[in-house]
Protein backbone atom coordinates (compact mmCIF):
# COMPACT_ATOMS: atom_id res chain seq x y z
CA UNK A 1 0.00 0.00 0.00
CA UNK A 2 1.81 3.14 -1.19
CA UNK A 3 0.97 6.68 -0.17
CA UNK A 4 -0.79 8.98 -2.64
CA UNK A 5 -1.52 12.70 -2.50
CA UNK A 6 -4.80 12.28 -0.65
CA UNK A 7 -3.15 10.04 1.90
CA UNK A 8 -0.27 12.44 2.31
CA UNK A 9 -2.84 15.10 3.13
CA UNK A 10 -4.51 12.76 5.65
CA UNK A 11 -1.11 11.96 7.12
CA UNK A 12 -0.40 15.60 7.90
CA UNK A 13 -3.94 16.11 9.14
CA UNK A 14 -3.31 13.43 11.77
CA UNK A 15 0.15 14.79 12.53
CA UNK A 16 -1.33 18.24 13.11
CA UNK A 17 -3.98 16.83 15.43
CA UNK A 18 -1.39 14.83 17.34
CA UNK A 19 0.89 17.83 17.76
CA UNK A 20 -1.96 20.08 18.86
CA UNK A 21 -3.27 17.54 21.34
CA UNK A 22 0.23 17.10 22.76
CA UNK A 23 1.00 20.82 22.81
CA UNK A 24 0.99 21.09 26.61
CA UNK A 25 2.89 17.84 27.00
CA UNK A 26 5.70 18.87 24.65
CA UNK A 27 5.90 22.30 26.24
CA UNK A 28 6.04 20.68 29.65
CA UNK A 29 9.00 18.56 28.56
CA UNK A 30 10.67 21.69 27.17
CA UNK A 31 10.09 23.53 30.48
CA UNK A 32 12.22 21.03 32.29
CA UNK A 33 15.31 21.35 30.11
CA UNK A 34 14.57 24.11 27.61
CA UNK A 35 12.50 27.24 27.26
CA UNK A 36 8.98 25.93 27.44
CA UNK A 37 7.95 26.45 23.84
CA UNK A 38 8.41 23.27 21.83
CA UNK A 39 4.71 22.35 21.88
CA UNK A 40 3.75 25.94 21.15
CA UNK A 41 6.20 26.21 18.25
CA UNK A 42 5.18 22.91 16.70
CA UNK A 43 1.44 23.61 17.07
CA UNK A 44 1.79 27.01 15.48
CA UNK A 45 3.72 25.53 12.58
CA UNK A 46 1.52 22.52 11.91
CA UNK A 47 -1.67 24.54 12.27
CA UNK A 48 -0.39 26.82 9.52
CA UNK A 49 0.86 23.90 7.44
CA UNK A 50 -2.53 22.24 7.77
CA UNK A 51 -4.33 25.36 6.55
CA UNK A 52 -1.94 25.55 3.64
CA UNK A 53 -2.29 21.99 2.42
CA UNK A 54 -6.01 21.94 3.00
CA UNK A 55 -6.32 24.82 0.55
CA UNK A 56 -3.71 23.51 -1.89
CA UNK A 57 -4.23 21.40 -5.02
CA UNK A 58 -1.57 18.76 -5.47
CA UNK A 59 -0.71 16.19 -8.08
CA UNK A 60 2.46 14.97 -6.41
CA UNK A 61 3.14 13.69 -2.91
CA UNK A 62 6.27 15.84 -2.84
CA UNK A 63 4.09 18.93 -3.29
CA UNK A 64 2.32 18.27 -0.02
CA UNK A 65 5.63 17.66 1.79
CA UNK A 66 7.13 20.78 0.28
CA UNK A 67 4.31 23.03 1.46
CA UNK A 68 4.54 21.53 4.92
CA UNK A 69 8.30 22.10 4.91
CA UNK A 70 8.05 25.70 3.74
CA UNK A 71 5.35 26.53 6.25
CA UNK A 72 7.28 25.00 9.12
CA UNK A 73 10.42 26.91 8.17
CA UNK A 74 8.47 30.14 7.90
CA UNK A 75 6.42 29.87 11.06
CA UNK A 76 7.95 27.59 13.69
CA UNK A 77 11.21 29.39 14.39
CA UNK A 78 13.45 28.07 17.13
CA UNK A 79 15.58 25.00 16.55
CA UNK A 80 12.79 22.66 15.58
CA UNK A 81 11.48 24.83 12.71
CA UNK A 82 14.51 24.63 10.44
CA UNK A 83 15.16 21.01 11.45
CA UNK A 84 11.72 19.58 10.73
CA UNK A 85 11.48 21.95 7.77
CA UNK A 86 14.63 20.43 6.37
CA UNK A 87 13.40 16.89 6.98
CA UNK A 88 10.23 17.40 4.96
CA UNK A 89 11.92 19.57 2.33
CA UNK A 90 14.54 16.96 1.62
CA UNK A 91 11.87 14.27 1.54
CA UNK A 92 9.84 16.28 -0.92
CA UNK A 93 12.85 16.74 -3.15
CA UNK A 94 13.60 13.04 -3.08
CA UNK A 95 9.97 12.19 -3.91
CA UNK A 96 10.42 14.28 -7.06
CA UNK A 97 7.33 14.13 -9.26
CA UNK A 98 6.00 10.84 -7.88
CA UNK A 99 2.24 10.65 -7.53
CA UNK A 100 2.58 7.76 -5.11
CA UNK A 101 5.43 6.71 -2.87
CA UNK A 102 6.01 3.19 -1.61
CA UNK A 103 7.93 2.06 1.43
CA UNK A 104 11.28 2.07 -0.38
CA UNK A 105 10.70 5.63 -1.65
CA UNK A 106 9.67 6.73 1.79
CA UNK A 107 12.69 5.30 3.55
CA UNK A 108 15.09 6.66 0.95
CA UNK A 109 13.56 10.09 1.33
CA UNK A 110 13.60 9.85 5.11
CA UNK A 111 17.30 9.05 4.99
CA UNK A 112 17.89 12.17 2.90
CA UNK A 113 15.85 14.18 5.36
CA UNK A 114 17.81 12.94 8.34
CA UNK A 115 21.05 13.76 6.53
CA UNK A 116 19.79 17.29 6.15
CA UNK A 117 19.04 17.51 9.85
CA UNK A 118 22.49 16.24 10.73
CA UNK A 119 24.15 18.68 8.35
CA UNK A 120 22.19 21.61 9.77
CA UNK A 121 22.20 20.80 13.47
CA UNK A 122 25.46 18.85 13.68
CA UNK A 123 24.09 16.64 16.42
CA UNK A 124 25.45 13.18 16.98
CA UNK A 125 23.70 10.18 18.41
CA UNK A 126 23.26 10.50 22.18
CA UNK A 127 23.46 14.29 22.12
CA UNK A 128 19.88 14.12 23.45
CA UNK A 129 18.04 15.53 20.45
CA UNK A 130 15.43 14.46 17.92
CA UNK A 131 18.28 12.67 16.15
CA UNK A 132 18.14 10.02 18.88
CA UNK A 133 14.62 9.11 17.76
CA UNK A 134 15.11 9.72 14.05
CA UNK A 135 18.22 7.58 13.66
CA UNK A 136 16.92 4.30 15.11
CA UNK A 137 13.62 4.90 13.32
CA UNK A 138 15.48 5.15 10.03
CA UNK A 139 17.48 1.98 10.75
CA UNK A 140 14.38 -0.02 11.57
CA UNK A 141 12.49 1.30 8.55
CA UNK A 142 15.38 0.56 6.26
CA UNK A 143 15.52 -3.05 7.42
CA UNK A 144 11.78 -3.50 7.07
CA UNK A 145 11.66 -1.89 3.62
CA UNK A 146 14.49 -4.03 2.34
CA UNK A 147 12.43 -7.04 3.48
CA UNK A 148 9.77 -5.76 1.11
CA UNK A 149 7.29 -4.80 3.82
CA UNK A 150 4.69 -2.19 2.88
CA UNK A 151 4.62 1.40 4.13
CA UNK A 152 2.34 0.91 7.14
CA UNK A 153 4.38 -2.06 8.32
CA UNK A 154 7.61 -0.15 7.77
CA UNK A 155 6.31 2.86 9.69
CA UNK A 156 5.20 0.58 12.51
CA UNK A 157 8.78 -0.64 12.92
CA UNK A 158 10.07 2.91 12.72
CA UNK A 159 7.67 4.07 15.41
CA UNK A 160 8.70 1.32 17.79
CA UNK A 161 12.35 2.21 17.37
CA UNK A 162 11.67 5.93 17.60
CA UNK A 163 9.86 5.30 20.88
CA UNK A 164 12.82 3.37 22.25
CA UNK A 165 15.19 6.07 21.07
CA UNK A 166 13.00 8.71 22.64
CA UNK A 167 13.03 6.89 25.97
CA UNK A 168 16.76 6.40 25.79
CA UNK A 169 17.17 10.19 25.77
CA UNK A 170 16.01 10.33 29.39
CA UNK A 171 19.30 9.54 31.16
CA UNK A 172 21.45 11.38 28.61
CA UNK A 173 23.31 14.59 29.30
CA UNK A 174 22.46 16.98 26.47
CA UNK A 175 25.24 18.06 24.16
CA UNK A 176 23.24 20.05 21.63
CA UNK A 177 20.36 22.51 21.77
CA UNK A 178 19.22 24.53 24.70
CA UNK A 179 19.26 21.60 27.11
CA UNK A 180 23.05 21.45 26.78
CA UNK A 181 23.31 24.64 28.86
CA UNK A 182 22.01 22.67 31.82
CA UNK A 183 24.96 20.30 31.77
CA UNK A 184 24.42 17.37 34.16
CA UNK A 185 21.05 18.75 35.17
CA UNK A 186 19.65 17.79 31.78
CA UNK A 187 19.86 14.10 32.69
CA UNK A 188 16.63 12.50 33.86
CA UNK A 189 14.37 14.30 31.39
CA UNK A 190 13.03 13.13 28.05
CA UNK A 191 14.01 15.24 25.06
CA UNK A 192 11.07 17.22 23.64
CA UNK A 193 12.24 16.98 20.03
CA UNK A 194 12.72 13.21 20.21
CA UNK A 195 9.21 13.06 21.63
CA UNK A 196 7.71 15.10 18.80
CA UNK A 197 9.50 12.84 16.32
CA UNK A 198 7.81 9.82 17.86
CA UNK A 199 4.44 11.57 17.83
CA UNK A 200 4.82 12.61 14.19
CA UNK A 201 5.70 9.13 12.99
CA UNK A 202 2.85 7.60 14.99
CA UNK A 203 0.35 10.05 13.57
CA UNK A 204 1.62 9.45 10.06
CA UNK A 205 0.82 5.79 10.38
CA UNK A 206 -2.64 6.60 11.70
CA UNK A 207 -3.29 8.81 8.71
CA UNK A 208 -2.06 6.18 6.31
CA UNK A 209 -4.28 3.48 7.78
CA UNK A 210 -7.52 5.38 7.37
Amino acid sequence: MPMNVEQARKVFERVTEAIISHKEYLTELDSAIGDADHGINMSRGFTKAQEKIKAGAYTEVGGVFKDVAMTLMGSVGGASGPLYGTLFMRMSMKFGTKQEVDSADFVEAFEEGLKGILALGKAQLEDKTMVDALTPALEAMKAAASNGEDLPAVLEKGIASAEEGMKRTIPLVAKKGRASYLGERSAGHQDPGATSTFLILSAMLEGLRE
Partner: protein, 332 residues
Protein backbone atom coordinates in the same frame (compact mmCIF):
# COMPACT_ATOMS: atom_id res chain seq x y z
CA UNK B 1 0.16 33.71 35.41
CA UNK B 2 -1.22 37.18 34.86
CA UNK B 3 -0.20 39.19 31.83
CA UNK B 4 -1.30 42.53 30.51
CA UNK B 5 -2.35 41.35 27.09
CA UNK B 6 -5.24 40.72 24.76
CA UNK B 7 -5.03 37.48 22.73
CA UNK B 8 -1.95 35.51 23.65
CA UNK B 9 -1.04 34.99 20.00
CA UNK B 10 -1.07 38.74 19.38
CA UNK B 11 1.33 39.84 22.12
CA UNK B 12 4.32 40.28 19.84
CA UNK B 13 2.54 42.12 17.03
CA UNK B 14 0.60 44.39 19.37
CA UNK B 15 3.71 45.25 21.31
CA UNK B 16 5.54 46.00 18.06
CA UNK B 17 2.68 48.26 17.01
CA UNK B 18 3.08 50.10 20.30
CA UNK B 19 6.81 50.46 19.77
CA UNK B 20 6.25 51.90 16.32
CA UNK B 21 3.55 54.27 17.53
CA UNK B 22 5.72 55.51 20.38
CA UNK B 23 8.88 55.94 18.33
CA UNK B 24 7.78 56.65 14.76
CA UNK B 25 10.57 59.20 14.51
CA UNK B 26 13.07 56.36 14.89
CA UNK B 27 11.52 53.13 13.69
CA UNK B 28 8.92 51.74 11.32
CA UNK B 29 7.53 48.25 10.99
CA UNK B 30 8.05 46.23 7.84
CA UNK B 31 4.81 46.21 5.83
CA UNK B 32 4.58 42.43 5.50
CA UNK B 33 6.82 40.57 7.91
CA UNK B 34 7.61 41.02 11.60
CA UNK B 35 10.59 43.35 11.61
CA UNK B 36 11.44 46.70 13.14
CA UNK B 37 13.25 48.89 10.62
CA UNK B 38 15.14 52.10 11.10
CA UNK B 39 12.83 54.91 9.97
CA UNK B 40 15.45 56.52 7.76
CA UNK B 41 16.79 53.29 6.20
CA UNK B 42 18.23 52.40 3.80
CA UNK B 43 21.43 54.35 4.32
CA UNK B 44 24.61 54.04 2.33
CA UNK B 45 26.32 52.14 5.10
CA UNK B 46 26.62 48.54 6.22
CA UNK B 47 23.23 47.41 7.51
CA UNK B 48 23.47 45.95 10.99
CA UNK B 49 20.66 43.52 11.74
CA UNK B 50 19.89 41.41 14.74
CA UNK B 51 16.94 39.45 15.99
CA UNK B 52 15.86 36.60 18.16
CA UNK B 53 12.94 35.52 20.27
CA UNK B 54 10.72 38.18 21.81
CA UNK B 55 10.47 38.64 25.55
CA UNK B 56 13.88 40.28 25.88
CA UNK B 57 12.74 43.86 25.34
CA UNK B 58 14.17 46.40 24.75
CA UNK B 59 16.48 43.98 22.90
CA UNK B 60 16.42 44.09 19.85
CA UNK B 61 13.65 46.37 18.57
CA UNK B 62 14.43 49.05 21.14
CA UNK B 63 17.94 49.32 19.73
CA UNK B 64 16.97 50.21 16.18
CA UNK B 65 17.97 53.73 15.23
CA UNK B 66 20.90 56.03 14.67
CA UNK B 67 24.21 54.47 15.66
CA UNK B 68 22.88 51.03 16.46
CA UNK B 69 20.68 48.59 14.51
CA UNK B 70 19.13 49.05 11.08
CA UNK B 71 16.64 46.28 11.65
CA UNK B 72 15.53 43.86 14.34
CA UNK B 73 13.64 40.63 13.65
CA UNK B 74 11.56 39.46 16.59
CA UNK B 75 10.35 35.89 16.78
CA UNK B 76 7.56 34.67 18.99
CA UNK B 77 8.31 34.83 22.71
CA UNK B 78 11.63 33.02 23.29
CA UNK B 79 11.51 31.53 19.79
CA UNK B 80 13.97 32.39 17.06
CA UNK B 81 12.55 34.35 14.12
CA UNK B 82 12.21 32.60 10.77
CA UNK B 83 14.55 33.11 7.79
CA UNK B 84 12.03 35.10 5.73
CA UNK B 85 12.05 37.80 8.41
CA UNK B 86 15.79 38.37 8.26
CA UNK B 87 15.73 38.05 4.48
CA UNK B 88 13.03 40.68 3.99
CA UNK B 89 14.40 42.98 6.66
CA UNK B 90 17.83 42.90 5.05
CA UNK B 91 16.36 43.66 1.66
CA UNK B 92 14.47 46.60 3.12
CA UNK B 93 17.33 48.31 4.93
CA UNK B 94 20.52 47.39 3.08
CA UNK B 95 21.99 50.16 1.02
CA UNK B 96 24.52 48.28 -1.07
CA UNK B 97 27.39 48.10 1.41
CA UNK B 98 26.39 44.72 2.75
CA UNK B 99 24.65 43.29 5.77
CA UNK B 100 25.98 42.14 9.15
CA UNK B 101 23.87 39.73 11.16
CA UNK B 102 24.51 39.81 14.89
CA UNK B 103 23.30 36.43 16.10
CA UNK B 104 22.99 35.20 19.67
CA UNK B 105 24.34 31.69 19.97
CA UNK B 106 21.26 29.51 20.21
CA UNK B 107 20.75 26.58 17.89
CA UNK B 108 17.52 27.99 16.51
CA UNK B 109 18.86 31.49 15.96
CA UNK B 110 22.03 30.25 14.33
CA UNK B 111 20.16 27.97 11.92
CA UNK B 112 17.50 30.50 10.99
CA UNK B 113 19.99 33.32 10.42
CA UNK B 114 22.16 30.97 8.38
CA UNK B 115 19.23 30.17 6.11
CA UNK B 116 18.52 33.87 5.63
CA UNK B 117 22.19 34.52 4.89
CA UNK B 118 22.13 31.80 2.25
CA UNK B 119 19.03 33.31 0.67
CA UNK B 120 20.63 36.78 0.53
CA UNK B 121 23.96 35.49 -0.72
CA UNK B 122 22.03 33.78 -3.48
CA UNK B 123 20.91 37.22 -4.61
CA UNK B 124 24.39 38.64 -4.50
CA UNK B 125 23.92 40.71 -1.35
CA UNK B 126 27.09 40.55 0.75
CA UNK B 127 26.28 39.12 4.17
CA UNK B 128 28.50 38.50 7.14
CA UNK B 129 27.51 36.98 10.46
CA UNK B 130 28.93 37.15 13.96
CA UNK B 131 27.64 34.76 16.60
CA UNK B 132 27.78 36.23 20.10
CA UNK B 133 28.61 33.69 22.80
CA UNK B 134 29.57 35.52 25.97
CA UNK B 135 27.92 33.44 28.70
CA UNK B 136 30.55 32.10 31.08
CA UNK B 137 27.95 30.00 32.88
CA UNK B 138 28.05 27.54 30.00
CA UNK B 139 31.06 25.30 29.58
CA UNK B 140 32.47 25.80 26.12
CA UNK B 141 33.28 22.83 23.96
CA UNK B 142 33.53 21.93 20.34
CA UNK B 143 31.11 19.09 20.94
CA UNK B 144 28.29 21.05 22.47
CA UNK B 145 26.11 23.93 21.39
CA UNK B 146 28.72 26.21 22.97
CA UNK B 147 28.10 29.27 25.07
CA UNK B 148 24.94 31.31 24.89
CA UNK B 149 24.75 34.84 23.61
CA UNK B 150 23.49 37.09 26.39
CA UNK B 151 24.33 40.56 27.78
CA UNK B 152 27.31 41.05 25.51
CA UNK B 153 24.88 41.33 22.62
CA UNK B 154 23.70 44.76 23.81
CA UNK B 155 27.24 46.08 23.94
CA UNK B 156 28.06 44.54 20.56
CA UNK B 157 25.02 46.16 18.95
CA UNK B 158 25.94 49.56 20.35
CA UNK B 159 29.58 49.43 19.29
CA UNK B 160 29.05 47.75 15.94
CA UNK B 161 26.25 50.17 15.15
CA UNK B 162 28.62 53.08 15.71
CA UNK B 163 31.25 51.48 13.48
CA UNK B 164 28.72 51.06 10.68
CA UNK B 165 27.44 54.61 11.15
CA UNK B 166 30.99 55.86 10.63
CA UNK B 167 30.99 54.30 7.18
CA UNK B 168 33.23 51.30 7.78
CA UNK B 169 33.22 48.40 5.32
CA UNK B 170 31.47 45.11 5.98
CA UNK B 171 34.79 43.45 6.82
CA UNK B 172 35.67 46.21 9.26
CA UNK B 173 32.26 46.15 10.90
CA UNK B 174 32.44 42.39 11.23
CA UNK B 175 35.95 42.59 12.69
CA UNK B 176 34.79 45.01 15.39
CA UNK B 177 31.89 42.76 16.25
CA UNK B 178 34.27 39.83 16.60
CA UNK B 179 36.54 41.93 18.75
CA UNK B 180 33.67 42.80 21.08
CA UNK B 181 32.67 39.16 21.27
CA UNK B 182 36.21 38.11 22.05
CA UNK B 183 36.47 40.60 24.90
CA UNK B 184 33.07 40.36 26.55
CA UNK B 185 31.85 37.97 29.24
CA UNK B 186 28.54 37.67 31.06
CA UNK B 187 26.92 35.72 33.83
CA UNK B 188 23.29 35.78 35.00
CA UNK B 189 21.12 34.60 37.85
CA UNK B 190 17.44 34.52 38.74
CA UNK B 191 15.30 34.79 41.85
CA UNK B 192 12.09 33.80 40.08
CA UNK B 193 11.06 32.15 36.87
CA UNK B 194 9.19 33.90 34.12
CA UNK B 195 6.10 32.52 32.43
CA UNK B 196 5.97 32.10 28.66
CA UNK B 197 2.56 33.62 27.79
CA UNK B 198 1.48 30.75 25.56
CA UNK B 199 2.59 28.19 28.14
CA UNK B 200 0.50 29.93 30.77
CA UNK B 201 2.62 29.17 33.81
CA UNK B 202 6.12 29.69 35.18
CA UNK B 203 8.81 27.66 33.42
CA UNK B 204 10.25 26.46 36.72
CA UNK B 205 9.59 26.76 40.42
CA UNK B 206 12.12 28.20 42.75
CA UNK B 207 11.69 27.85 46.53
CA UNK B 208 11.57 30.99 48.69
CA UNK B 209 15.19 30.57 49.80
CA UNK B 210 16.86 29.52 46.57
CA UNK B 211 18.23 31.08 43.42
CA UNK B 212 19.29 29.84 40.00
CA UNK B 213 22.87 30.66 39.06
CA UNK B 214 24.03 30.72 35.47
CA UNK B 215 20.61 31.41 34.05
CA UNK B 216 20.09 32.33 30.42
CA UNK B 217 17.53 34.77 29.10
CA UNK B 218 14.77 32.32 28.19
CA UNK B 219 13.54 31.25 31.56
CA UNK B 220 15.61 28.13 31.11
CA UNK B 221 16.92 26.73 34.39
CA UNK B 222 20.47 27.73 35.26
CA UNK B 223 23.52 25.63 35.79
CA UNK B 224 22.95 25.19 39.50
CA UNK B 225 20.54 26.01 42.23
CA UNK B 226 21.88 27.54 45.41
CA UNK B 227 20.63 28.91 48.70
CA UNK B 228 20.08 32.66 48.63
CA UNK B 229 23.12 34.74 49.47
CA UNK B 230 23.77 38.43 49.99
CA UNK B 231 24.09 40.74 46.98
CA UNK B 232 27.77 41.12 47.72
CA UNK B 233 28.39 37.38 47.74
CA UNK B 234 26.38 36.88 44.56
CA UNK B 235 28.24 39.68 42.78
CA UNK B 236 31.59 38.31 43.91
CA UNK B 237 30.72 34.83 42.70
CA UNK B 238 29.47 36.00 39.32
CA UNK B 239 32.02 38.72 38.66
CA UNK B 240 34.73 36.36 39.88
CA UNK B 241 33.74 33.78 37.28
CA UNK B 242 33.71 36.47 34.58
CA UNK B 243 37.05 37.97 35.52
CA UNK B 244 38.76 34.57 35.65
CA UNK B 245 37.31 33.51 32.35
CA UNK B 246 38.66 36.08 29.87
CA UNK B 247 40.71 36.79 32.07
CA UNK B 248 40.40 40.44 32.98
CA UNK B 249 43.48 41.70 34.78
CA UNK B 250 44.78 44.58 36.82
CA UNK B 251 44.83 47.79 34.84
CA UNK B 252 42.17 46.70 32.34
CA UNK B 253 39.53 49.23 31.42
CA UNK B 254 36.02 47.86 31.08
CA UNK B 255 32.42 48.62 30.37
CA UNK B 256 30.56 47.37 33.46
CA UNK B 257 27.00 46.42 32.60
CA UNK B 258 24.53 45.46 35.30
CA UNK B 259 21.40 44.25 33.56
CA UNK B 260 18.02 43.52 35.07
CA UNK B 261 16.04 40.51 33.88
CA UNK B 262 12.80 42.49 33.62
CA UNK B 263 11.29 42.14 37.08
CA UNK B 264 14.16 43.45 39.19
CA UNK B 265 13.65 46.97 40.52
CA UNK B 266 16.22 49.64 39.79
CA UNK B 267 16.91 50.12 43.51
CA UNK B 268 18.39 46.60 43.52
CA UNK B 269 20.32 47.05 40.27
CA UNK B 270 22.12 50.11 41.62
CA UNK B 271 22.81 48.29 44.87
CA UNK B 272 24.36 45.44 42.85
CA UNK B 273 26.34 47.95 40.80
CA UNK B 274 27.74 49.31 44.06
CA UNK B 275 28.94 45.83 45.02
CA UNK B 276 30.42 45.36 41.55
CA UNK B 277 32.35 48.64 41.83
CA UNK B 278 33.87 47.43 45.10
CA UNK B 279 34.77 44.07 43.62
CA UNK B 280 36.46 45.57 40.56
CA UNK B 281 38.19 48.26 42.63
CA UNK B 282 39.80 45.55 44.71
CA UNK B 283 41.00 43.83 41.55
CA UNK B 284 42.23 47.19 40.17
CA UNK B 285 40.04 46.78 37.09
CA UNK B 286 38.89 50.23 36.06
CA UNK B 287 35.27 50.90 35.10
CA UNK B 288 35.67 53.33 32.22
CA UNK B 289 32.06 53.14 31.07
CA UNK B 290 28.88 51.73 32.59
CA UNK B 291 25.33 50.68 31.84
CA UNK B 292 22.76 49.92 34.55
CA UNK B 293 19.20 48.95 33.76
CA UNK B 294 16.87 46.50 32.05
CA UNK B 295 18.29 46.04 28.55
CA UNK B 296 18.16 42.31 27.80
CA UNK B 297 15.39 40.73 29.77
CA UNK B 298 13.41 37.54 30.29
CA UNK B 299 9.86 38.83 30.47
CA UNK B 300 9.05 39.48 34.14
CA UNK B 301 11.83 37.35 35.57
CA UNK B 302 13.54 38.70 38.69
CA UNK B 303 17.29 38.47 38.52
CA UNK B 304 20.21 40.16 36.87
CA UNK B 305 23.34 39.64 34.88
CA UNK B 306 26.79 41.17 34.97
CA UNK B 307 28.66 41.83 31.74
CA UNK B 308 32.21 43.08 31.45
CA UNK B 309 33.78 44.20 28.19
CA UNK B 310 37.47 44.90 27.99
CA UNK B 311 37.99 48.22 26.24
CA UNK B 312 40.67 49.58 24.02
CA UNK B 313 40.69 53.08 22.61
CA UNK B 314 38.74 52.04 19.50
CA UNK B 315 35.97 50.35 21.45
CA UNK B 316 35.83 53.25 23.88
CA UNK B 317 35.40 55.77 21.09
CA UNK B 318 32.72 53.64 19.46
CA UNK B 319 30.93 53.28 22.79
CA UNK B 320 30.90 57.06 23.20
CA UNK B 321 29.68 57.66 19.66
CA UNK B 322 26.17 59.18 19.61
CA UNK B 323 23.26 56.78 19.65
CA UNK B 324 19.56 57.48 19.32
CA UNK B 325 17.21 54.54 19.65
CA UNK B 326 14.05 53.98 21.70
CA UNK B 327 16.00 52.40 24.55
CA UNK B 328 19.51 53.83 24.36
CA UNK B 329 20.30 57.43 23.68
CA UNK B 330 23.18 59.77 24.13
CA UNK B 331 25.09 62.48 22.34
CA UNK B 332 22.09 63.41 20.20
Amino acid sequence: MKKLMNKVDDIVVESLAGLEAAHCDLVKLHPSIKAVLRADAPNCKVAVISGGGSGHEPLHGGFVGFGMLDAACPGEVFTSPTPDQMYEAAKAVQGGKGVLFIVKNYTGDVMNFQMAADMLAGEGIPVAQVVIDDDVAVQDSLYTAGRRGVGGTVLAEKIVGAMAELGASLDEVKAVCEKVNANVRTMGMALTSCAVPAAGKPTFDLPEDEMEIGIGIHGEPGRKRMKMMSAKEIVEMMAGAIVNDLPFSEGDEVVAFVNGMGGTPLIELYLLYNDLVKFLDAKKIRIARKLVGNYITSLEMQGFSITLLKLDSQLKALWDYPVHTPALRWGK
